[in-house]
């Protein structure tokens, strides 16, 4: 108890040194927490955008289609059976599902053309799974028996399309012959998913079967929305068993978010590097403090030894002081970090800060502003990490101080 008391009071003996060292540790912690909030924010926004605009939570399609969806797409389609649909209908986890026919094509405005992915949808059920219709900035979203096309704002800008303009989509049909679909642009969408704004166009399924030479209800996959994205993998495995169709694969949104998942792994590596830097900063600060304190308190160390205190108890005094600095730095860092993150979460940061734009997004499915996200485990991790680093960094210099010859320390020789 006395060792703790001495250590605690020593923290305030050189207030500015304690505050400076704890402050340096706190700054490192704030940087870590901010970076972590940034990565978690990117992750959350990216996952949300992919799930809400591109893939849904779960997809069911042919295994060969998922393996290579852009090559010979029309040979990898399927027609869901009554049993398939009944299985999905009776599920309590699924909140909505919709059949989708994705196929590659080229869009033409009469002068220029651009490669795209056509998403032929069932307008009624599509809105149960996706929210693309919420981002219409001109015209309207696809409706049943409507021959019109909805395109993204970037594609509209690129080919100078406006609502009401005529388009031509060029593609190969099931027999391999070139065919086209003509019509009007009925809507322009600006979603938070930049790839959807440039590469994907939406059309009602009824309008594509004949030109493609396909039977009605033929699709590339079914997209599902479930209650919670966290249970997607678990539920996908169960659904796979329920459907029991060897040709079909049930996959989750994580497969569509491979790029972001890879970024998450890179982010974890970045966190490790940051933790290493904090370790270094914290360790250097603490070692410096312990060495200086030991030099200043040489006579005191000698007196403690004369009083019969064992070396390990003297080490404890310095280690407790270092832990104190770690706690102050940790609390300061976590407290100020929380303020920074709260601000960041509310107001976000423009992607332009990172040299990114809607056109130049490096595959990250986010536009405009990036918002952070709370990650409470990161606060706990970095707080305890800071304290442990402080403790470990103090041990060696404290042992050196405690091992000094008592005669030399008492007389400060």
């Amino acid at each position: 108890m006395y060792l703790l008391k001495i250590a605690f009071r020593n923290l305030f003996r050189r207030k500015w040194r304690t505050i400076t060292t704890a402050g340096i540790l706190a700054i490192a912690i704030i940087i870590f927490l901010w970076m972590d909030a940034l990565l978690v924010g990117i992750e959350n926004m990216s996952f949300d955008n992919i799930i809400n605009l591109e893939s849904g939570h779960i997809q069911i399609g042919r295994t060969d289609y998922f393996a290579e969806p852009y090559e010979d797409t029309l040979d990898k389609l399927f027609k869901p059976t009554e049993e398939h649909l009944a299985t999905l209908d009776k599920s309590e986890v699924i909140t909505g599902f919709t059949p989708i026919l994705d196929f590659p094509a080229i869009i033409n405005n009469g002068a220029d053309e651009f490669p795209i992915q056509v998403r032929a949808i069932d307008p009624q059920s599509y809105n149960e799974v996706f929210i693309n219709q919420d981002f219409i900035v001109a015209g309207e979203f696809v409706k049943s028996n409507d021959g019109g096309l909805v395109i993204g704002n970037q594609l509209a800008e690129l080919l100078e399309f406006k609502v009401g303009d005529y388009f031509t989509i060029l593609f190969r049909d099931k027999q391999g012959w070139f065919n086209t679909i003509d019509g009007e642009i009925i809507g322009i969408m600006r979603s938070p998913h930049p790839e959807m704004n440039l590469n994907t166009v939406f059309i009602a399924q009824d309008n594509v079967y004949t030109p493609l030479g396909l039977e009605s209800r033929t699709i590339s996959h079914i997209a599902l929305r479930i209650e919670d994205r966290e249970i997607a993998q678990h539920y996908a495995a169960q659904l796979s068993e329920d459907i029991a169709d060897k040709e079909l694969t049930v996959r989750t949104w994580q497969e569509s978010a491979k790029m972001v998942m890879a970024m998450r792994e890179a982010g974890q590596l970045e966190n490790i590097v940051l933790l290493g830097l904090i370790l270094l900063i914290g360790a250097v600060g603490i070692i410096n403090v312990v060495i200086l304190s030991a030099l200043e308190r040489m006579e005191e160390i000698g007196m403690m030894k004369a009083l019969g205190l064992l070396e390990r108890s003297i080490v404890k005094v310095f280690a407790l002081e270092a832990v104190g600095i770690g706690i102050i730095g940790g609390l300061l860092g976590c407290g100020l970090g929380a303020v920074v993150i709260a601000f960041f979460n509310k107001y976000g940061i423009s992607l332009a800060t990172f040299g990114m734009s809607e056109e130049l997004h490096y595959g990250i499915p986010i536009v405009d502003r990036l918002y952070g996200a709370w990650n409470p485990p990161a606060f706990l991790l970095i707080f305890f990490f800071g304290v442990v680093v402080a403790l470990l960094a103090s041990i060696l210099p404290a042992r050196n101080a405690a091992r000094k010859d008592p005669v030399k320390t008492i007389y400060h020789r």
Partner: protein
């Protein structure tokens, strides 16, 4: 059995490869309850002798027996435990712990020695502080005390655990004459009342005046050992 027996004790320091003998063969026996003074010119080896007696250091040659135990054979922890329970130190520069109050400085010594529960510890500390005339100053930190008051805290700290031996290295060197006399009176009283053995190193004639035994050290040897009535 005497409290201390030193036989042919030598201590050599090294400055690089050069040997610097501090003690060249000391033979002393100290009985319990003595109030002795070790004196001699600067560099004669007084402090070195006290450090060896107090188990702060080990001799290069000869033997130091403390209460029947030879300190030559003890490791660092055993020496620390001997000091913890049986030796009290008083230094010229007081060596109080600056972040602790007068009360806490004294209590700390007792806590280290694990003597008594909280209530008895508190009573004991208050009693010893009263004995060294520091009532009312218990809550002051060392920087709020005068030199004499600090030395009285140091005396209380040395005595509170009721050690067999108190070693005082030039205890009055930083104090004025009146304060020195007060400090010596207190130590003399402790010796009488508690029977604690005191050994001083000093070149202060007033301190020597209080001693009942005078041991003179010159060039690392005992040149005079005189009992006084």
């Amino acid at each position: 059995m005497p409290l201390l027996e030193l036989q042919a004790v030598k201590k050599i320091y090294y400055q690089g490869k050069i040997e610097v003998p501090a003690l060249r063969g000391i033979d002393i026996t100290v009985e319990r309850g003595e109030f002795s003074s070790v004196f001699g010119p600067s560099g004669s080896g007084k402090t070195t002798l006290l450090n060896l007696i107090g188990a702060l250091d080990k001799p290069t040659g000869g033997t130091v027996n403390f209460d029947g135990r030879t300190i030559n054979d003890m490791n660092k922890n055993e020496l620390a435990l001997l000091r913890r329970y049986h030796v009290g130190f008083i230094f010229q520069s007081y060596n109080l712990i600056p972040v602790l109050t007068a009360f806490e400085n004294v209590e700390f010594a007792l806590k280290i020695a694990h003597k008594g529960d909280d209530k008895s510890t508190r009573d004991k500390v208050m009693d010893i502080l009263a004995l060294v005339e520091l009532q009312g100053l218990e809550k002051r930190r060392p920087n709020e005390l005068s030199g004499g008051q600090k030395q009285r805290v140091a005396i209380a700290r040395a005595l509170v655990k009721e050690p067999k031996l108190v070693l005082a290295d030039e205890p009055t060197a930083n104090l004025d004459t009146d304060t020195s006399a007060g400090i010596l009176e207190i130590m003399y009283k402790m010796n009488k009342e508690l029977g604690t053995t005191f050994i001083f190193s000093t070149h202060d004639p007033m301190v020597m005046g209080y001693a009942r035994r005078l041991i003179e050290i010159r060039d690392g040897r005992v040149s005079k050992d005189e009992q006084r009535s």
